[in-house]
């Protein structure tokens, strides 16, 4: 056809508005050390780290079908690598965080070749077992405190910045940077040619394989990238905590159960879902945490209600009613204006 009256667009009005708003919000957040209190910054820093963890878990589970309940393996591994690289390697903490990411990705390679032999529920259990193996192994390392853990030496903490407020600003910015990086990586990956493959795998593996998509390789790349970035996040998390122990580092509750809650509530298989889920999770936590056990019961009830009433999560619920998306991933075929009959 020579005069094709159709054109393809990948953006939308909502996406352009969202991009402007997103940029504004990021600018305001970057300036937080000048307008927010110490406690608020700490809370926001934690929120950003959870947002990053959730975005990466969503990339694996929501798109590649890799339902891992063992990502705490990489959070803990990254945390321990931060301690090892700074204490024994003498690296500056910022370089140690990058190093933890690289090492996390490297160790994810043999782990992937092992657990990719398992399918479905067996895969999920396999990832958990791997995480337990990591936890037990690090508990054996007496140089890093064994089962009781160790603290980051004061000298290393000071090397970040001399003043306490300087350190807090820096670790806040690194958390914000981590969240922006994680979402950007997920976004760019999904918008690329590989993203089409991943979305196809999400919807139908049989058809995806029959259309030339190397499912194993696609999942492998996702697993290694997500795990490497998760290890970096782990390093960041324990740079803020300043203390590490096997139980805290490899906690399935803290680093996987809450993350799954966030993604499922927000909307699995969408970029926007984890963002909304993180906001809901922190809103619940900050208002209900004083109630102790009741807080966990409320989380459970919210999870059950969302799964029954809106199985695609809050964002899925919105998208079903209003055809919008904030991050432009879709292709839209439009009839060209001048060619309209």
């Amino acid at each position: 056809m020579s005069d094709q009256p159709h054109e393809i667009s990948r953006s939308s009005q909502a996406a352009r508005v969202a991009a402007v708003l997103g940029a504004l919000i990021i600018i305001i957040l970057v300036a937080a050390p000048w307008w927010a209190g110490r406690a608020d910054m700490r809370l926001m820093g934690e929120l950003f780290l959870y947002l990053a963890l959730a975005s990466l878990w969503n990339l694996m589970a929501g798109y590649a079908g890799l339902v891992s309940v063992g990502q705490q393996a990489y959070v803990g591994f990254g945390g321990y690598m931060l301690f090892a690289l700074t204490i024994f390697g003498g690296l500056h903490p910022v370089f140690a965080i990058a190093g933890a990411g690289v090492l996390g990705a490297l160790i994810a390679i043999p782990v992937a070749t092992l657990i990719f032999r398992l399918r479905g529920a067996y895969f999920a259990i396999g990832t958990w077992v791997i995480a337990e193996v990591f936890r037990l192994s690090f508990a054996q390392l007496s140089a890093l405190g064994g089962g009781s853990g160790s603290s980051l030496p004061v000298g290393i903490v000071r090397s970040l910045a001399s003043s306490r407020s300087g350190r807090e600003s820096l670790s806040y910015w690194m958390a914000l940077g981590a969240a922006v990086t994680a979402i950007t990586v997920v976004y760019l990956m999904l918008r690329s040619r590989r993203g089409l493959a991943l979305t196809a795998i999400r919807d139908n593996e049989l058809a995806a394989g029959s259309l030339g998509i190397d499912i194993w390789r696609t999942k492998f790349v996702v697993y290694v990238v997500a795990s490497g970035l998760t290890a970096m996040l782990g390093a960041l998390i324990f740079l803020q905590k300043l203390r590490i122990s096997p139980d805290a580092a490899f906690s399935v509750n803290d680093w996987t159960a809450f993350v799954i809650f966030i993604v499922v509530i927000g909307g699995i298989g969408t970029i926007e879902g984890p963002i909304i889920g993180t906001l809901i999770f922190f809103a619940l936590r900050e208002t209900l945490a004083d109630l102790g056990t009741t807080y966990l019961i409320v989380l459970g009830v919210v999870a059950i209600v969302v799964m029954l009433k809106a199985p695609k999560g809050v964002w899925g619920f919105i998208v079903e009613r209003y055809d919008i998306q904030l991050l432009p991933l879709r292709y839209r075929v439009n009839v060209k204006e001048h060619a309209k009959r």
Binding site: T199, L206, A207, G209, S210, G269, Y331
Partner: protein
């Protein structure tokens, strides 16, 4: 279109050759010593009763299912151990009898998956191919519809669309004419004739026999997982075996 069969006009080199394929699920044999060859540019029809093993044969050829015994040669290369994805990139594309859409993606995005992943196209070239194929398969006006909300008929059209966007050298169609109106069927036949005329080899499983006979050069009959007849379409349709299967007339009567 009544000239000599297409495969006699080009040199006789098989694009696909299957040798002694066997597959059993427990005691049920679904492929029993299946062998045949498809010449470059040929269109082959496959008929047989429901549950005869026609779709299983497609699954074996495309790599969705591994045979217990036997070999599959595509363009002269033994692909028996290759994954479905690798066979697709080598030039095989199929439609599924039970449509397998990417439900959460639009019709256009479904087509884009095929164009980018199997043909290895990108950017505007891929987009243009998808638009052209969607126009050909009458789905262009539904390009932005989510595949999960299509009717069964449109899902079948989408199966054909995706297979074509993969730019196959061998196109394998599994019952795509069922449920079409007379005029839709005529245009489908024309579409497949056009694809065939462009040099694509075709294997087509179809119960709508008149559609099949309008396109194919040769016919094979499958029952209980084995090939029971093979030859020119007219002769095969008139043969006692086919008469028995389709009309219930006994061979000895």
């Amino acid at each position: 279109m009544c000239a000599a069969p297409f495969y006699l006009k080009v040199q006789m080199s098989p694009i696909l050759q299957i040798n002694g394929l066997n597959k059993a699920f427990g005691a049920v044999t679904v492929a029993d010593d299946l062998s045949f060859a498809l010449q470059q540019g040929e269109a082959l029809g496959v008929i047989g009763p429901n549950g005869a093993g026609k779709t299983t044969m497609f699954n074996l050829i495309t790599g969705t299912l591994a045979p217990d015994k036997g070999a599959i040669l595509f363009k002269g290369e033994n692909v028996t151990k290759h994954s479905a994805a690798r066979r697709c990139r080598a030039g095989m594309a199929r439609s599924f009898q039970v449509p397998q859409p990417f439900s959460g993606m639009s019709v256009f995005e479904n087509a884009m998956v095929a164009a980018t992943q199997s043909s290895g196209l990108s950017g505007q070239v891929a987009e243009q191919l998808c638009l052209d194929v969607l126009d050909q398969t009458a789905l262009l006006n539904k390009a932005n519809t989510l595949a999960g909300s299509l009717t069964l008929l449109d899902r079948k059209r989408l199966e054909l669309t995706r297979a074509l966007c993969a730019k196959p050298k061998l196109l394998m169609l599994d019952e795509i004419a069922g449920g079409l109106t007379e005029s839709e069927c005529t245009s489908l036949i024309q579409t497949i004739k056009d694809i065939h005329a462009s040099g694509v080899s075709i294997i087509w499983i179809e119960h709508v026999v008149h559609a099949l006979l309008a396109v194919v050069d040769r016919l094979i009959v499958i029952d209980f997982g084995s090939k029971i007849a093979e030859g020119a379409p007219k002769e095969i349709m008139a043969s006692p075996e086919v008469q028995e299967i389709y009309l219930g007339i006994e061979v000895d009567a």
